[in-house]
Symmetry: C2
Subunit: 367 residues, 2 copies
Amino acid sequence: MQTLQVDLGERTYPIYIGSGLMARADLLAAHIVGRQVAIVTNETVAPLYLQALKQSLAGYSVTEVILPDGEAFKNWETLQLIFDGLLGARHDRRTTVIALGGGVIGDMAGFAAACYQRGVNFIQVPTTLLSQVDSSVGGKTGINHPLGKNMVGAFYQPQAVLIDTQSLTTLPARELSAGLAEVIKYGLICDEPFLTWLEENMQALLSLDQQALTTAIERSCAAKARIVAADERENGVRATLNLGHTFGHAIETEQGYGVWLHGEAVAAGTAMALEMSHRLGWITEAERNRGIRLLIAANLPVVPPKDMTPEHFLQHMAVDKKVLDGQLRLVLLRDLGDALVTSEFAHEILHATLGADYVALVNQLEN
Amino acid sequence: MQTLQVDLGERTYPIYIGSGLMARADLLAAHIVGRQVAIVTNETVAPLYLQALKQSLAGYSVTEVILPDGEAFKNWETLQLIFDGLLGARHDRRTTVIALGGGVIGDMAGFAAACYQRGVNFIQVPTTLLSQVDSSVGGKTGINHPLGKNMVGAFYQPQAVLIDTQSLTTLPARELSAGLAEVIKYGLICDEPFLTWLEENMQALLSLDQQALTTAIERSCAAKARIVAADERENGVRATLNLGHTFGHAIETEQGYGVWLHGEAVAAGTAMALEMSHRLGWITEAERNRGIRLLIAANLPVVPPKDMTPEHFLQHMAVDKKVLDGQLRLVLLRDLGDALVTSEFAHEILHATLGADYVALVNQLEN
């Protein structure tokens, strides 16, 4: 088992990474103060892991809250089911909410924990690669609003994150790839040598080699923990974690949540950020191609939906959380492994990036 | 103008108290960072003060969100109207939410500010006595759930509280009295000399003497600021601010929110806490009577609804936020001006308190 620390003063917490950690009752018990626990999970994950997790919680009064599965349910109505479950079983302020599932479950269970009786304890047990390397670390929680993704939420840190790498053996291939979009992101924004490692190990990751997965998760979480510790509330460097996300959110919003997986939208958005960074003259064509090839190697889409015009993108991007005083800011690359957040770009270059022919670009890469 | 400070480290903020402060554009501007402002108010307050406040916000892009009035609307559906207004007008993370109204508006606007894009700036402009002396200070925000009051919320501190005492001139007498329940509370829990002052000045307060009101507000806010600074997240002494509230919340829940005003329910609950403290032998009969007489002098109810049995009370009290690991804790008085939070009482004494004949007690006081 590997243990990383997210350094946030009095809100510091550990990330445990290893095989079979759901069976480690001792790790869970170390982060539960009262006698009440509520496991929040969904209809897909519950049949796979709920019993295993409950066995590690013998002696506690456990409430199960099983939500419908999918980004389309990341809304207030579904969140309300968590509050109903907690209040129905009379959970008090010392209860611990445990999120068992992917990013949607973690975001909703975390937001419920942040709001229930104005804040109760919270443990993340992420079961998808995407949630293990990204959303379970750093304390961002929330739900979607019809007018924008993650528009309602809280910064709320868990007591611990417990990553059981065995849970990836039941993950659909498409979701594994979606998680790799965020793994590749860490290489692009702050760890160029990791890109080389990923190029060499992509097939091992896709074939679920446990050692390769553990390395990738650890390196990703370490990068995220470092960035979050430096900027918990996203006043600066933390925003670089959103490489590809502003474009990607626009895709998710336009298509309706849940049609594209989050990681898939981020992959296409990352391709756009690479293209724009190249058009700005910050990275070379070869560097752009290297990034896009890695996304393709992870079986990720790098072409935005063909019915989306630049106007569609701009409309959704105007409500992005990185907009300040009406000015759009984007995460772009000064270099591979070196991201920045900036509003200093010619609008024409943004427009050209949004309207670029990504199909032709991919065809060219494949020839 | 008087200025108090709530000392909370990097979240320290001022409370301004004075006549005509809504016209002080400079005070508002000092606490607004961006160019966007959203005023959240209700249908009752808007015709009285919205234009005046907007005149002090010339130069800002102002969005108005006017909610229906009343505790019955302190729920998710109404909160959603605030998010709709903010997103509809594309407010970004640097926006400032201003709560203009009573406690319900302050709690909901504050919770919306806490959650919108995971937290934006927030200014309280409380217009009722109750919100001026209690809910606008200390950062408690939230909404009700069908199974319990204030069960969903956040600790979220404003940038500033601006108390314009002139707004009390339009307050219905019943709501003025409801606010006095919380004023009297401060005397009972931590400021015995203030009880004497209140006994001497109750008529001045009820006839809206501006100087008496200013003194009462200042002394109440100072007490609250002191307690909140010592215990922001209610791990200890802050819970004493809930004198009468556990009984009171049970009354509000049983009767349906909005039938009794919050302050009225707290007044009856405070009478019950005085009775229980007396039954436990901690305060004398004369002290109990002194407290209850002061509540009566403020035109407040001190008799719980006659259809409420001890079982009704116990059922609602079991979901109180002060319950820990299944054990009910109550705020009681060791002495006038000296409150404690305790679960150490015989259940029979609680039961006798819930079933006591408060009508007979009041009749006896009046003879």
